[in-house]
Symmetry: D2
Subunit: 359 residues, 4 copies
């Protein structure tokens, strides 16, 4: 067996950073060799700097790593970033300039024209934008917003099969999306907060890019009308959404055709057998009250999205309930899957694209 | 001061029944003289039969009333019904035949053509349908579904000022709507249940009737396309909704005009100064994350609805967040307000319509 | 009617500070004329600086006060302090030196020998310690820890009637005790945190002082063995405790005698008819599952404590469940009651002790 | 590999029954061949009768079993019972008479003198009582109350090493202990219920039997003073307890000795390497706020208990926080471990005691 590929994690002590560390334990391709965080954590062993909050115990291989300060060089060709948007921008560019491939969960570069915004099953081909970034061996790949990922993943097969003119999504989002301290218990117990700063704009902005086509002039956004309304609910993990869609003009599928398009959908991640790829990207559930965050967020290790209650919408045509795990598929897990695809596509410096299949 | 009007409460031991009893304590016009419940409770004093769950203490004037069995005669001209839909139908008809005016919170008669489905501020004039019921002095008035009330109340001024072609509502509903035992804690803690049996149909069905016009041939439903998606969230009281609306063709109001139409809205309940009428039926809140169930459900004693985050919707035109207290305005309080209007309109047998103003 | 006594609130924007402002609205004796907070809030109008979180609306009389920076002089003879312990010490001393009577909710001065630690019904006479402070007209009075108040109040009648050798308390404390942001929702949803920094020590330390006797040499602590174990639970307001007590040697009361001692207990606050005094300091509840935070925390406006499930303890003798509202009786409300007693006892500079009765 | 031992599950559709089915999937020794429930479920396939609520998907091997009515013969030498106490008594006796070994989670037979009440690590030798039951090849073994199991397991090494005169436990129990519908969300959200019917008596009664010695005259109860106070908190799984203990007279261990006695404790379940035995029955945690239900309930698959905050108690000597998973170790998992021990000890009819080691 070959030596696993060394990777670094930026912003490693936060909620998403901890998910990265947890999911990368026992990863068949990757091995965490460096963790970086703010100056407050730098210099401490990771077990001390992170107040570990995951239910899986802290991996011993990472526990004793000394935390670097964000900005220090990382000796790894692949770097996962869980930095907050206010610091991610220049740090990630510096990493790219230094020859690292950065897979970022931050919002900073998502809308930059030459930065791919990737969900492997949906638009893995957008990775080709890396060629245009001009960082040499390095580059930046971004992972969409946690709510957008699930929605775009479920819309892709509908777009392909029936066309898609608009979608209307009302989200019920878990508190883990806000990190620690994030949402105060005094604000959310026995309550809903019908506002998440910047979230609606992200969904409305990112969906068109993800579902767009890569042409010679770059990404051509999908023409879509999008309305997103976001609520924070007292749930730990799992973003739920009530989604209505208007399919392409002239398209009039039956319920079964739509369900089949969703459940049979497979992407490049499945085709290549990437280690973090869910076997079924979209589970179509038939229980009358499904999906539910606590009961279905962990399907396929948290990497699948669930769709239920598919039925006609008197206004837009069809509607359904959508669930995705916001810190797995919607953050760390989704970014790791992007990293796997980047390896398989030969975008990681010094790593042979045939690596995985040879392992 | 005159003697207060004697009233009865059917289904008095449940969640909504307890709200009726609680809200009717110290009511300036009404006095609870009879409480009825299932055979399991009948014959016991009310304090024992109801496991009192309200935060206000059980009113001493009702505590010692012996619970009647539902179906026994009630010696009161006005009867509030919190019966469940599976038993309400024939019982309420029997009461009406017996000369009582029944204000019902049950779903049984809501869609009957000659039964008014009333929100006093919205369609108080529909009470005139009582003339067509043929029960003599008695009659049946219904209170809409708890989610529908808040939505229809907020839509009425929009319909009047700008016209209304469709609305799309995704609700986040409190557990008190399901009563006791209702939603098990094992189902809802750290969870959302994206389904409430029959609820979406009720909203889609009732809104058109409430917003309709009473003509010589009865109620003419408003022509509206309605899409409702309902979720149960771990909140005690207060139904929140993310609402998008399509206004009348050619109507292009500015944000301020819409906000003003909402906040300046008054109805017959305010005009007559009915005791349970909120001073402002609709509060337009300006906080970026308002309204919130725990913080705003009790505005105007739980009888007002709150609207916030009024902004454009890329698909339907306008959208906003709506909150109403589901067991006050959406159930017991709303029904009591209907009862007050019925008194003021002379629909309660043996009670002079001038009663209130003379008090 | 006389002009109400001007008072100031330090730390006015936090959770307890907001409670002070809310409870002082419409107070018959006091009128808030100054609010102070950290430099971040100073200079802003109070409505903007406080993100108002109480369910009662922000009092208009305070909304427009410009927030002072903590440390600036306060033009009021009586000042309530909701400062955090890390800044309260020198600030409160400066206020006292300046001739103000400070009623402090902070821990800073509680254990100082010449500072009274007061629950009016329990040890109102300890206010006489003010004479020894040497601040001239000013002085410092402290309010005990939020958990200690309820416990000491319930133990006082037992100590008086039967003697008390030890008590063992396990608390289940609400999140409002930690303020905002306080306890993160990601830590407490579907969870209990069995630790609250410093809390157990406070209960173990303060109870003996409060229940002690004031003699010529100062306070003589009550001889008590105390064991406290503190848990944080996902409850908004109301600290519950499972308490076991060992009564005085040779004392063998029946259950009824204990219940009577509790329910008939009255203190100087009731005797003087202070405006914030609950009519019954201790409610003895008979429901088999009472008291409960959500259902009983607001009894007597949140100023009464509730005791239930009084029964024998196989180890210590007797045990019961205790509830008190942590931000009302256990913080702002308790401090206001201390302020009222201080006025009535003539400890507030320039305010005639006969003021209240003359009002 | 040998054929796995067929087992049945009584009360298979409830919360604990579902845990049995979930934990027995892929069990190396056992295979579920029969499920029984009330007449309401009988005759339906299990997938339909159980509204499956576990987060692991319903095992396909059980999904299609037709549910038997409780009381019908079960063709399996070993039967796990999750029946409620009101029906378990005669049904389990009938099974025993029929030659089955019943491992019961119900309270019905726990205190019967010839019925072992077993925690394998604590008193596995009590299984020898089966010889005295007189059911021939069949018999009844009971699993203690969910709260008692964790407490007794943690106390056993203390009793062995230092003696134990009394313990005082205040529990904070999860809602899953009450099953479905169990605790209504309307009762427990933003609340604690300081009462669980019969629970305190069970802890006080069962501990002495479990920690007792089996002699020629049967079980001799441990001499212990026990005080238990039970609270229901809004937590899904995991019973937490604040425990104080009085060790044996003259015993004065240091903190480290106690911690070592706990963490090094091993029982017969570990010695025999039973498949469900946790490697460490007791985890001693050092985090200042540990253990916590959500973060530690799943240690060792939910079969270990966690102890934290070990420190002196001013009244009883020592105190600590204890956590155990109430539906795994405290119910289904604990019973399965008893079943494994019974097999290894040759108590299951027709199953060779050497079976497991030969597998």
């Amino acid at each position: 067996m070959r030596e696993r590929i060394p990777v670094g994690v930026l912003g490693a002590t936060g909620t998403v950073g901890q998910r990265f560390v947890s999911l990368l334990e026992d990863h068949p391709w990757f091995r965490v060799v460096a963790v970086a965080a703010s100056s407050r954590s730098a210099g401490k062993p990771y077990w001390e700097a992170s107040r570990w909050l995951q239910s899986r115990p802290l991996p011993s291989s990472v526990a004793d790593l000394v935390v670097k300060e964000v900005g220090e060089p990382i000796e790894a060709p692949l770097v996962f970033s869980a930095l907050s948007a206010d610091v991610a921008g220049p740090v990630e560019e510096e990493m790219a300039r230094d020859g690292r491939l950065v897979i970022s969960n931050a919002g900073s570069h998502r809308m930059a024209p030459d930065v791919p915004l990737v969900i492997p099953e949906v638009n893995g081909d957008h990775l080709a934008l890396l060629e245009r970034q001009g960082w040499g061996k390095g580059g930046i790949v971004t992972n969409p917003n946690c709510s957008t990922i699930g929605i775009a993943l479920a819309l892709k097969p509908l777009l392909d099969a029936f066309g898609l003119r608009s979608f209307h999504a009302v989200t019920l989002q878990a508190v883990s999306g806000a990190g620690i301290p994030g949402v105060s218990s005094l604000e959310i117990l026995d309550n809903v907060i019908p506002f998440i700063g910047g979230e609606e704009e992200k969904i409305e902005r990112e969906a068109g890019k993800i579902l767009g086509r890569l042409g010679s002039g770059g990404i051509q956004r999908a023409e879509l009308r999008v309305s997103a309304q976001c609520n924070r609910v007292p749930v730990l993990d799992g973003h739920l959404a009530s989604v209505s869609v208007e399919l392409g003009e002239g398209s009039a599928p039956e319920r079964d055709e739509i369900a089949r398009a969703l459940s049979e959908f497979r992407g490049v991640a499945q085709g290549l057998g990437l280690p973090s790829a869910p076997r079924h990207p979209i589970h179509v559930l038939t229980g009358e009250a499904d999906p539910q965050p606590r009961r279905h967020r962990d399907l396929d290790g948290g990497m699948a999205v669930s769709v239920g209650r598919l039925r006609r919408c008197p206004i837009l045509g069809w509607r359904f309930v959508l669930l995705s795990h916001n810190t797995v598929r919607g953050a760390a897990g989704g970014a790791i899957l992007c990293g796997e695809l980047a390896v398989a596509r030969g975008h990681v410096a010094g790593v042979d694209a045939s690596w995985p299949s040879a392992s």
